[in-house]
């Protein structure tokens, strides 16, 4: 049996966090909201900062 490398452990850990976020409706909700607000901030900075 081979011991898992740091890389595979990190990959599994990353997948675990993502699965945890996806498994909880509220966590997923907040993740999407954070991404959306980030995109909105990007749109504001790129196109709208001068017009407001």
């Amino acid at each position: 049996m081979t011991t898992p490398t740091t890389d595979t452990v990190e990959k599994a850990k990353g997948g675990g966090i993502m699965k945890w976020v996806l498994s909880s409706m509220w966590a997923y909700w907040f993740l999407l909201l954070a991404v959306s607000l980030g995109c909105a901030a990007g749109i504001y900075l790129i196109w709208l900062k001068g017009t407001m």
Binding site: V35, C39, A40, I43
Partner: protein, 354 residues
């Protein structure tokens, strides 16, 4: 940047198409025109308020037609319900507009509008969210027992109450599988029309919950039927705004080019989900719009001294469009994975059709 000569504004084409696309998806999925999202966004892009309203209405009419055709193919429209409701809606809108004129003369229209928006939207959010969570739990229970929950489940007792009113004539809505007094449908149309006319919106976000919780239609039928109403009201609004010269057709064309794809995607997505999924998205839309309106209300009440409040309202409006769009697309993605037998989160399973 494109020079919109009629509006006298320079705005990025990509942004208009993007707004059209995202609101198209949301509109096709939850059966709303999306005026409460588009009009503030257009004002932020630099369009004058009256022009934003005109462009929004005209694009809603075009987008509503596309969504309606798609929902017709999916069998989600009850024409008896839609046409009976139109009469009440028209009456209600006229009364709503007259009430608005009264408050305008009194000089309190701005604050009254914002307070009414916040109260109506928050109440609808609360009821829809609580009821949908209850339905979600019941669907999960049925699934764990190995029983098929079907396409629709709602736990509200209000439809039974309204359907028990025996005031002639009684209307049989075959597609919606609802037998109800014509006066109930007309009254629901009038009340929702009044709020729509008063708040200056199409009223889809009020009519869809009303069709589900008061008339007793399924969420899919409520969405399709409401879109018929939107074609009528949007078409009339577009005509009136065009006559007044409030429409920049170039802006409308750019928005519609995005909305045509979005509206079809949103409408088709309803075929992959169960009723509570649509109601969840509707309730999220309501709470985010409530927060945006509440920010504007605080901004107005503070004597417009805190411009950051206005900025947060803008962020919420844009963020809401993107959030709802991502949520619908992810539901569609999970539904397809579920059909292929791949892993999906547990909370998604009762919401999608296998």
């Amino acid at each position: 940047m494109f020079d919109f000569v009629i509006a006298g504004v320079q705005a990025p084409i990509a942004l208009l198409m993007f707004v059209g696309f995202t609101v198209g998806i949301v509109g096709g999925f939850i059966g709303v025109g999306g005026g409460y999202m588009v009009t503030p966004a257009l004002i932020v892009f630099g369009f004058p308020g009256y022009m934003a309203s005109g462009i929004d209405m005209t694009h809603i009419a075009g987008k509503g037609l596309v969504s309606t055709l798609r929902h017709r193919q999916l069998g989600n429209i009850d024409w008896t319900l839609a046409l009976t409701m139109v009469a009440g809606t028209m009456l209600g809108v006229e009364l709503g507009v007259r009430t608005l004129v009264y408050f305008k003369k009194a000089g309190t229209a701005g604050i009254v509008l914002l307070v009414t928006s916040v109260v109506v939207m928050f109440t609808l959010f609360l009821y829809t969210q609580i009821e949908t969570r209850r339905s979600h739990r019941q669907m999960k229970l049925l699934e764990t027992q190995g029983r098929d929950p079907g396409r629709e489940l709602h736990t509200s007792s209000l439809p039974k109450l309204f359907q028990s009113i025996n005031l002639l004539p009684i209307v049989r809505c075959r597609t919606a599988r609802v037998v109800v007094s014509m006066w109930v449908i007309v009254l629901v149309g009038a009340v929702t029309g009044f709020l729509a006319g008063f708040l200056g919106v199409g009223g889809g976000f009020i009519r869809v919950p009303a069709l589900v919780y008061l008339v007793g239609a399924s969420t899919h039928i409520a969405v399709g039927t409401d879109l018929v109403e939107i074609v009528f009201s949007g078409g009339y609004g577009a005509l009136r705004h065009s006559i007044e010269g409030h429409v920049d057709m170039m802006a409308v064309l750019f928005m519609i080019s995005g909305a045509l794809f979005g509206a079809q995607l949103g409408s088709i997505a309803t075929a992959y989900v169960r009723g509570p999924a649509i109601r969840y998205v509707l309730s999220y839309s309501l709470i985010l719009a409530t927060l945006g309106a509440a920010m504007r209300l605080v901004y107005v009440l503070s004597g417009q001294k805190a411009p950051w409040l206005s900025l947060i309202a803008v962020m919420l409006t844009l963020g809401e469009m993107i959030f709802l769009c991502l949520f619908i697309i992810s539901l569609l993605y999970f539904a397809r994975r579920n059909r292929r037998g791949e892993w999906v989160p547990d909370w998604v399973k009762p919401l999608v059709i296998t």
